[in-house]
Amino acid sequence: MAKVSPLALGPALAVALVVSITVAVTIGPADIRFDEVWRSIGSHLGIGVSPLTELRDGIVWQLRLPRVLTAAAVGAGLALSGAVMQAITRNPLADPYLLGLSSGAALGAVSVLLLGAAVLLPIAAFLGALLALTLTLLLAGSLGAITPSRTVLAGIAVSALASAITSFVIFWSASGDSYREVLSWLLGSLSGARWPAVAITLAAIVVIGIPVMLTGRLLDSFAFGDVQAASLGVNVSATRWGLLAATALITGAMVSVSGSIGFVGLILPHAVRLLVGPGHRALLPLSALLGAVFLVWADTLARTLFDPREIPVGIVTAMIGAPIFAFLLTRRKSST
């Protein structure tokens, strides 16, 4: 039952996101004030003059801001994809990496990292994700009619294979620094995020994410399964495969810049459901907003908690996500 009005939570989360992004940019070894962040951003957009020295301005504009914006976009994309996957597979445990996407991306990324071609990493990761997805769907198709459960099982098989090859590649060729770099990527990290990463992830949100957010009513019709959705005039297979392809593209774009950051897509849709109820018209945009706020703070923790050392953000999301997941499980038990 709805406890919070989506119409109140939406604007509140939007404000929280803007404040979080600004505050997150101020946090770090070089001390930069809230208002200085805005004036620096303004100067780069052609409004006014930056109050900061060139070095400190560079920290805001070249390092922290793109990283924080990437965190926001990745968090939004993962949480949105998770909410959609949970609806179309009718599986509350579904997450954006369900169909082998993250393992495929990892294989692509690790291969180019170890070849010493780190520039190609996003492209290789994206291609790896799409290759894994294609294999998953081909395998699911070869089992007969493609159903959600067959697709999930095929995803597990493809994931396992890609992980095995990734482990083999690492074991065979990684050493010292490259091993550290590979591990950091595998655990999910935004430390390398600059403006190109912002462009990739924001483009995925705007071009694919926003249209996906408009399909809430269709997803609601899946609550009782395919037959009821069909009886309500929904083209079940076109909707399912269209949304699956869309979430795969979003996840592929996110994983290509951040590695696979776990728990965001799994947990946050459940948290939003607890707050506003199960209707997808509110759930999809609110999950995206909450995901953005969550990952901005998780990444801020990742880069400051053990300053000057930085830990992969995937460790932070898992540390926070796993207990929340356990809490949600107990809630679920009492509600069914």
Partner: protein, 271 residues
């Protein structure tokens, strides 16, 4: 407000639901074998037959939820299988057996799902839709359940919610797959009473039923399905004979009379 796309007075084709030469296969097995069936407009009809006879499969085909391998389905002359999905969902509603969900939807949200074919994806719920939902909740006696979570309801209440959801589609044809399954006697009578009431509002109703006595007391017409074929169809009292029950179910039955309603009651004898 008009319920469909055509004015009923203009019709020159056959009335009601007409399925012709319907065949359905699944995994290479013929489930429905060249079936013809008719349900008169504005009637309450029962589809009966043993487990596995193909009742669910036929119902799904008749509302185009699952397309048959071959055959045609018309309602008041309109081609149900050929028309756009959303238009079909405004004309024909289907209530499946034992609908369940993991989702914490409220009763009102479930009933609102029935408005899907009448609304575009992102427009706000119209005042008209809200009025229809309220109306359907009232018709099914669920006004006090609006905010209750669907999963917390009893079987009979759930079935009434699904009925209200189907009514929110404002259909002219309603098909139901064993709507009295797992319900206690009072809930069974309440569901069938509602279907009987719907008939008086001009909705054509076809329900798959297991209980032949219930079918006999509520339904004007009956279609008997056995092994994917229609073995008898027509007015209930003419179709439901002891010989037919013996042939279709392999059970010895006696047709008695309900002392109150005068309708047939079927008593089974152990063999």
């Amino acid at each position: 407000m008009s319920r469909g796309e055509r004015d009923i007075d203009d019709l020159d084709g056959p009335d009601g639901l007409v399925g012709e030469r319907i065949s359905i296969t699944a995994d290479g097995i013929l489930l429905i074998d060249n079936v013809d069936c008719t349900v008169a407009r504005g009637s309450l009809s029962a589809l009966v037959g043993p487990n596995g006879a193909g009742k669910s499969t036929l119902l799904r085909a008749l509302t185009a939820v699952q397309l048959p391998a071959s055959g045609t389905v018309h309602f008041d002359g309109d081609d149900l299988l050929g028309m756009p999905r959303r238009q079909r969902a405004r004309l024909a509603a289907f209530v499946e057996q034992d609908a369940t969900t993991d989702s914490a939807l409220t009763v009102e949200m479930v009933v609102k799902l029935g408005r899907l074919p009448h609304q575009s994806l992102w427009e706000a719920d119209s005042a008209e839709s809200a009025a229809v939902v309220t109306d359907c909740l009232e018709t099914t006696g669920l006004s006090d359940f609006r905010e209750r979570e669907f999963r917390s309801l009893s079987g009979g209440e759930k079935q009434r919610v699904m009925l209200a959801r189907a009514l929110a589609q404002q259909p002219r044809l309603l098909t139901l797959d064993e709507p009295t399954n797992h319900l206690d006697i009072a809930a069974q009578l309440s569901v069938l009473g509602l279907l009987d009431h719907l008939r008086t509002t001009g909705v054509t109703v076809l329900a798959a039923l297991h209980d032949l006595s219930l079918a006999a007391s509520y339904c004007d017409h009956i279609i008997v399905l056995s092994r994917g074929r229609v073995v008898a169809a027509g007015a209930t009292e003419e179709v439901l004979t002891e010989a037919l029950i013996a042939e279709v179910y392999g059970v010895q039955a006696s047709i008695l009379r309900n002392p109150v309603t005068g309708k047939p009651v079927i008593a089974y004898s152990p063999s």
